[in-house]
């Protein structure tokens, strides 16, 4: 049993949920006349004033293009943007700034690796090992790469509790595998995969591992050195930052060996019509004017999270997970989907005989924002033989009162729909 919220508040100086919610203006808005209950955090998180104001301040007082300008504003903007790289390095404990590549998000980060890594390292007849729990963005880029290089995409199966079948992973892991690409935490079911064990096993055969950290970055401390993953990808918008900005962490040796992906400004050293030499890491992979405000927003978001402490956030969210899982399991007709013992604060469920879409429509009328459907993980739904699920995903700014209202809302939906 994890610590309860009150212990957290007393022991670690963690603010109360009421205090935290004051930082998020959207949480006090109304939807269809009811107070908004935002439980779609696995899709995107809400933004605190600190992030909104940092972006606002940048556009009001610091806006300029970066890295090239000699003038004052350009230098100021460059400094603010590059400060984000330092923040990210510290946040995920990367060794150096060269290992932190800015992208437009997780999908872009995975596509970068799928294109550039594959060009260098994916051999004909080679294999890319992914898992049955992947989001489409960690499936399709690899399908494209495998098609191009006549390689094979191999899938680690899952079981009905929503966990990977690790014995099968060991069977599939052999010298023909060029890369293992797996999600750290499932966005549909919340399962936390045993990634450390998997990384160590892959490394024993010198196979690099990419972790899709789109979900895990929001729920726990990420230490890429302790994990020893070779790539780690995430999006700013899932951790209180703006959309359209993300990170690819990669081990320097691998990134050095990989060819550039997109061409353009920023990623070059010299250009002539016969020969171009490329810039050093991390800029080699950052073509064009970046999303400068995005970086500045992410900086502010990381500062906010580090002030609260990711360990405290994890504890607070585990309490929300336990309470919501318990509440939902008490409702007759509700079936929890994804029942691994090791989960992040994502609760997927269905109501017997009722389509998830219908539940979502009724909850929406009550002001409760949940996600319904396949959550961009169609293979999981096919495996479980369901059209989709209703997914309530919790963030540390959600309250126990909101779980109570979700509980009431589901009961109301069941009465109306069955």
């Amino acid at each position: 049993m994890s610590a309860n919220i009150h212990e957290l508040i007393v022991l670690n100086n963690f603010p109360t949920v009421e205090e935290i919610r004051k930082d998020f203006p959207i949480l006090s808005t109304k939807v269809h006349g009811n107070p908004l209950i935002y439980l779609d955090n696995a899709a995107t998180s809400q933004k605190p004033l600190q992030v909104i104001e940092a972006i606002d301040h940048y556009y009001k007082y610091e806006n300029a293009n970066i890295h090239r300008g000699v003038h004052y504003l350009s230098a100021t903007a460059t400094e603010a943007y590059e400060a984000c790289r330092v923040k990210v390095r510290d946040f995920i404990n990367a060794r150096s700034l060269s290992e932190v590549i800015f992208t437009s998000g997780t999908t872009d980060s995975i596509n970068l690796v799928a294109s550039s890594f594959s060009r260098k390292f994916l051999k004909k007849g080679g294999k890319i090992l992914i898992s049955a729990l992947e989001h489409h963005s960690n499936i399709v880029p690899w399908q494209l790469a495998c098609e191009q290089y006549e390689a094979e995409l191999v899938v680690i199966p899952m079981n009905h509790t929503g966990e990977l079948v690790i014995e099968e992973f060991y069977k599939l892991l052999d010298e023909s595998v060029c890369l293992v690409a797996i999600s750290h935490i499932s966005n549909s079911l919340g399962t936390i995969n045993p990634v450390k064990e998997m990384i160590d096993a892959a490394h024993a055969l010198n196979i690099p591992v990419l972790l899709d950290g789109a979900q895990s970055i929001a729920h726990q401390t990420i230490d890429v050195q302790a994990l020893d993953c070779d790539f780690f990808t995430f999006s700013a918008h899932k951790i209180l930052g703006p959309t359209g900005f993300g990170v690819l962490y990669g081990k320097e040796k691998l990134l050095e060996a990989m060819p550039p992906w997109k061409g353009g400004g920023e990623m070059i050293k010299t250009v002539s019509f016969t020969k171009t030499t490329y810039n050093e890491l991390p800029f080699k992979f950052e073509a064009g004017t970046p999303h400068i405000a995005g970086g500045i927003g992410l900086s502010a978001a990381i500062t906010y999270l580090m002030n609260l402490g990711m360990d405290n956030i994890e504890k607070a969210e585990q309490v929300l997970l336990e309470k919501s899982t318990y509440a939902l399991s008490q409702i007759e007709g509700v079936e929890l989907i994804g029942t691994s013992a090791n989960k992040a604060s994502i609760v997927s469920f269905n109501v017997k005989g009722v389509h998830p879409y219908d539940v979502g429509v009724i909850l929406d009328q009550l002001g409760i924002a949940v996600r319904t459907g396949h959550h961009c993980t169609q293979p999981i739904m096919d495996f479980l033989g369901i059209p989709g699920t209703v997914r309530a995903s919790f963030c540390f700014y959600n309250s126990e009162e909101e779980i109570y209202r979700l509980d009431k809302g589901i009961r109301k939906a069941i009465t109306m729909l069955s």
Partner: protein, 149 residues
């Protein structure tokens, strides 16, 4: 077959039916009721060929022409979608291809359910209406061709 009232008239009646509700819950309860009541489509037509895939819910649509009128039957796996499907079928089924092609479906907006027709909802409803109009168009062309030959 009895003559169906004109499309505009059916729409006005539906708007009137819904106008008695002043809260969303009653409105949805009626739609859910409609969804539950009707066996909308013959099982033999619930095939993959007749499926309109939304990201969220699926809709099956079948069309046939009887005495120059197009008869639609449809179904959905989600009950709220099914209720709305039944309303749309009620409005468009039993009319000539020309009337279907030219119909302007404004009643959904007027009863305050336009959110379900948003392309972002991807429940299959918007695609279903498009498909119904395409059927109308196809029958229209077919009829013109058969008159010529």
């Amino acid at each position: 077959m009895t003559d169906t009232a004109p499309i505009e008239e059916i729409q006005s009646l539906l708007v009137e039916d819904f106008s008695i509700f002043d809260n969303w819950m009653d409105k949805y309860e009626l739609i859910i009721q409609l969804g539950k009541e009707l066996p909308l489509i013959d099982e033999q037509f619930k095939t993959d060929d007749n499926i309109i895939k939304g990201c969220q819910s699926r809709v099956w649509l079948h069309a046939e022409q009887i005495d120059s009128k197009v008869i639609f039957t449809a179904d959905s796996d989600a009950i709220i979608t099914k209720g709305l499907v039944s309303l749309i079928v009620k409005v468009l089924s039993g009319h000539t291809p020309k009337e279907i092609v030219e119909a302007n479906l404004h009643f959904i907006d007027e009863i305050g359910l336009q959110q379900h027709l948003s392309p972002t909802r991807s429940n299959g409803l918007l695609s279903m209406i498009k498909q119904m109009k395409l059927f109308g168009l196809a029958f229209q062309i077919q009829n013109t061709n058969s008159q010529k030959s």
